[in-house]
């Protein structure tokens, strides 16, 4: 009996601590570090993708998704044109470097500044619109950006080819592996990318849990109430859009290094659509949700793209061979199905929410057995 009481009491204390964020304090930073540490070995494992540099691509997209989730997850705004800001970063860095011979960091900062200004201005125009109007207007601006880049005014953007073969002087690449070479040191690009990723993601996380971020959540949860208690929702939406755009542009800067330039595909509706799919699939309610979505999406794509035959149990000892190439080449169908189901069951939870409740249930059961 008394055990019961003390257990509920301790559970209550634990829940309090969780709600107050005391224990959660370190969960996200540690999680991000673990992500960067484990991502590459997992991606590179020969039974999985056997393709370590793909971890770079995944990190870039994860940052892009995290930036997008400032809008969708924390503010409840759906943008159909977020790829535009990825493009600003990528093109900014690449244009500065190739067309004006600026140092990479200067170009990158210019790209971020342009993204910030454009995002702020667009935000001012569209922040007060209803969500459908908001989504359509973001799409329209992104279309305009794509059009301009494709027109290649003044030879700046390289038209449909984009800007290729661009690397800052301190990056070297050899047979697909990039190195950062600075001041006599040489180390894998992944570590720099990972460091920037962790810092940027932490900044997003800090913004999300700051008073500013909590006000965004209030706007998302109930705009009318938010206004009634004194939250200037328009202003918050504008700044949310701006922050989101800047971090997307930062992802774009990393993209420019990772992809050795900038491509018109950053500005397409497809890119903007993919990031929506990834974010919602992963779970917009959680900080790690969009990151999980990116991982699942890109991993599936890369895994299935050359997946013709399922050999069980192991390639060395083939007992069963199942020809799956035909079916799996339509993998997006199944991902779409998964997406629809997850939206219907719990629209903001996604795979990460499922995973969390799965882990939670498991934890409870294990504990229940032990006691």
């Amino acid at each position: 009996m008394s055990g019961d009481a003390s257990q509920t009491e301790s559970t209550q204390r634990l829940r309090d601590a969780l709600a107050d964020g005391r224990l959660e304090q370190w969960r996200v930073p540690l999680g991000l570090l673990a992500l960067v540490v484990f991502l590459r070995p997992v991606i590179g494992h020969e039974f999985l993708l056997n393709y370590p540099p793909f971890a770079n691509t995944i990190l870039v997209w994860m940052l892009f998704a995290a930036s997008f989730n400032v809008l969708l997850g924390y503010t409840g705004l759906l943008s159909f044109g977020h790829g535009m800001f990825l493009g600003f970063g990528a093109y900014g860095a690449a244009i500065g470097l190739t067309r004006f011979d600026l140092p990479f960091t200067v170009s990158a900062v210019i790209g971020l500044a342009v993204a910030a200004v454009v995002a702020y201005l667009i935000g001012r125009i569209i922040a007060q619109r209803g969500e459908i109007y908001f989504a359509m207007l973001t799409l329209a601006f992104a279309k305009a950006a794509h059009f301009i880049a494709n027109q290649n005014y003044g030879g700046l953007t390289g038209g449909s080819t984009g800007i290729v073969g661009v690397l800052p002087s301190w990056i070297e690449t050899e047979r697909g592996v990039k190195y950062v070479a600075a001041g006599g040191f040489q180390f894998d690009w992944y570590y720099l990318l990972g460091a920037v990723f962790v810092l940027a993601a932490l900044a997003i996380w800090q913004i999300a849990r700051s008073p500013f971020g909590r006000s965004l959540v209030a706007v998302r949860e109930n705009e009318e109430l938010a206004r009634a208690v004194g939250i200037d929702d328009k202003r918050y939406k504008i700044w949310s859009f701006t922050f989101s755009g800047v971090f997307a542009a930062l992802a774009g800067v990393l993209y420019a290094i990772n992809n050795q330039g900038s491509s018109l595909s950053t500005l397409t509706v497809e890119t903007s659509g993919d990031i929506i799919l990834m974010t919602v699939l992963g779970g917009a309610n959680y900080f790690f949700g969009p990151l999980a979505g990116v991982f699942v999406w890109l991993f599936s794509e890369e895994f299935l793209i050359e997946f013709e035959t399922l050999v069980l149990p192991l390639a060395e000892y083939p007992l069963v061979r199942i020809e799956l190439g035909g079916l799996l080449s339509y993998w997006q169908f199944f991902l779409g199905l998964l997406f629809v189901i997850s939206v219907l069951v719990a629209p903001r939870e996604g795979l990460w929410g499922l995973f969390r409740s799965g882990i939670g249930g498991l934890y409870d059961r294990v504990r229940g057995v032990r006691e």
């Binding site: 056997n50 540099p53 691509t57 080819t161 984009g162 290729v164 073969g165 050899e174 491509s263 793209i305």
Partner: protein
């Protein structure tokens, strides 16, 4: 320095043994590598998928011939680039880092070629492309990128004079991306050099556009006597069928730039007969290579057209360069290709009595360029393979290629 010495030790799981040993051993001996791994980059999904399978067929044939001739084992891997430069770059990166390919060829759109070419060159991997934009061997040329097919300029110059003879004024419809934009400029200037005029130009969206109504309206209402369709692949097919629906093919001379007969096979023979002119690097009625055409027909999914030819030449030349160099090392292969004249290859049978040479200054394969026209419907045959078009003029490559100075290429 460039390749081999610092390749990651932990990235391959032991499956890909092709290059690790050969690179080290190969440089010493002159016998050449005994294993080569070649990546074929093409759209294997989406609307351009038939081009992908044609590239595979051509590569397979070359592999059979090469393995018979040399003591070498060639592995071909397909990589799906769709028509997306970002996807293409991801594929070449994976091909090199994960699968360990030694060299690569392929690419359909210029953006894809540029993307692969630049990445490959940054990483010291030889890449033979088939995209035709002049930029690929011009301002955007890359030290490890070679082109196995005539450039836009070569084709435009070959067709300029016949075009001027065919009609006095031309309307140019071009797809609004690098290939179309550059081709449009060259054809315009070539026409004027030959005394014809440009009645108007229109940038058409795409690739991937199916609706040409607006632009065909413009053509119809201009005073042009001919229309130049500078439109790639399946877009060209859609545009052709819409020209035909409007009855314009009877009123106007029609030119298809970088003509591919495969595009027209998707239409009926009546529509195909609208083609008055079209410059190309190869079609299956080019004299020679009967054996090659026969084998494509037997082994391929489509009848022989330019893409199997391109893939054959690319694969053949990549492997021969490695054998000559005695190494799969990128730097060595590059050196073996630059300036090489093809004299000892089945390619000489496919394109007989011609000079084929890898120019060192811009990495263009100088080769004959043809102008084709549709046969009369009654003379179009489908057996043993579709022969709907015939060569009306052939120009030697060095007569139409840009001079080294003109290209603006420097490595």
């Amino acid at each position: 320095m460039i390749a081999g010495c610092s390749s990651d030790s932990d990235d391959s799981g032991g499956q890909q043994t092709t290059d690790g040993d050969t690179t080290d051993v190969g440089t010493a001996g002159s016998s050449g590598p005994d294993e080569l791994h070649i990546g074929v980059f093409a759209p294997y999904t989406g609307p351009f998928a038939p081009w992908g399978s044609a590239l595979t067929t051509g590569s397979e044939l070359a592999k059979q011939d090469l393995e018979a001739e040399f003591d070498v084992s060639i592995t071909l891997s397909e990589y799906d680039t769709e028509t997306n430069p970002s996807a293409a770059q991801e594929r070449i990166q994976r091909a090199v880092t994960s699968d360990g390919i030694d060299m690569a060829h392929g690419g359909i759109s210029s953006a894809v070629c540029g993307s692969i070419g630049s990445w490959a060159s940054d990483n010291g991997v030889p890449f033979i492309t088939q995209g035709a934009s002049d930029t690929l061997t011009g301002e955007s040329c890359q030290p490890y990128m070679f082109r196995a097919y005539p450039s836009n300029t070569m084709m435009a110059r070959a067709v300029g004079q016949p075009m001027a003879e065919e009609a006095d004024s031309w309307y140019l419809l071009y797809t609004d991306y690098v290939w179309g934009q550059t081709a449009q400029e060259i054809i315009g200037s070539v026409l004027e050099e030959n005394g014809a005029t440009v009645a108007g130009t229109d940038a058409v969206p795409g690739p991937g556009n199916q609706d040409f109504t607006q632009y065909i309206n413009n053509v119809e209402n201009s005073d042009a006597d001919g229309v130049a369709m500078i439109i790639p692949g399946l877009d060209a097919r859609a545009a052709a069928s819409q020209l035909q629906n409007r009855g314009l093919h009877e009123e106007l001379s029609v030119m298809f730039h970088q003509f591919e007969d495969q595009v027209m096979w998707g239409l009926n023979q009546e529509a195909a007969s609208m083609v008055d002119l079209g410059p190309t690097g190869w079609i299956n009625t080019v004299e020679g290579g009967e054996d090659f055409k026969q084998r494509v027909t037997e082994q391929g999914e489509t009848d022989p057209f330019s893409r199997q030819y391109m893939a054959y030449v690319s694969t053949d030349q990549a492997v021969r360069a490695a054998m000559r160099a005695g190494s799969a090392n990128g730097e060595d292969v590059r050196a073996a290709l630059e300036g090489h004249e093809i004299t000892d290859s089945p390619v000489n049978d496919i394109v007989p009595n011609s000079t084929l040479k890898w120019r060192a200054c811009d990495h263009q394969l100088i080769q004959p360029t043809h102008v084709v026209q549709a046969r009369d419907e009654s003379e179009m045959t489908n057996d043993p393979y579709k022969q709907w078009f015939e060569v009306s003029k052939t120009v030697a490559g060095d007569q139409v290629a840009r001079s080294c100075e003109e290209t603006g290429c420097s490595f």
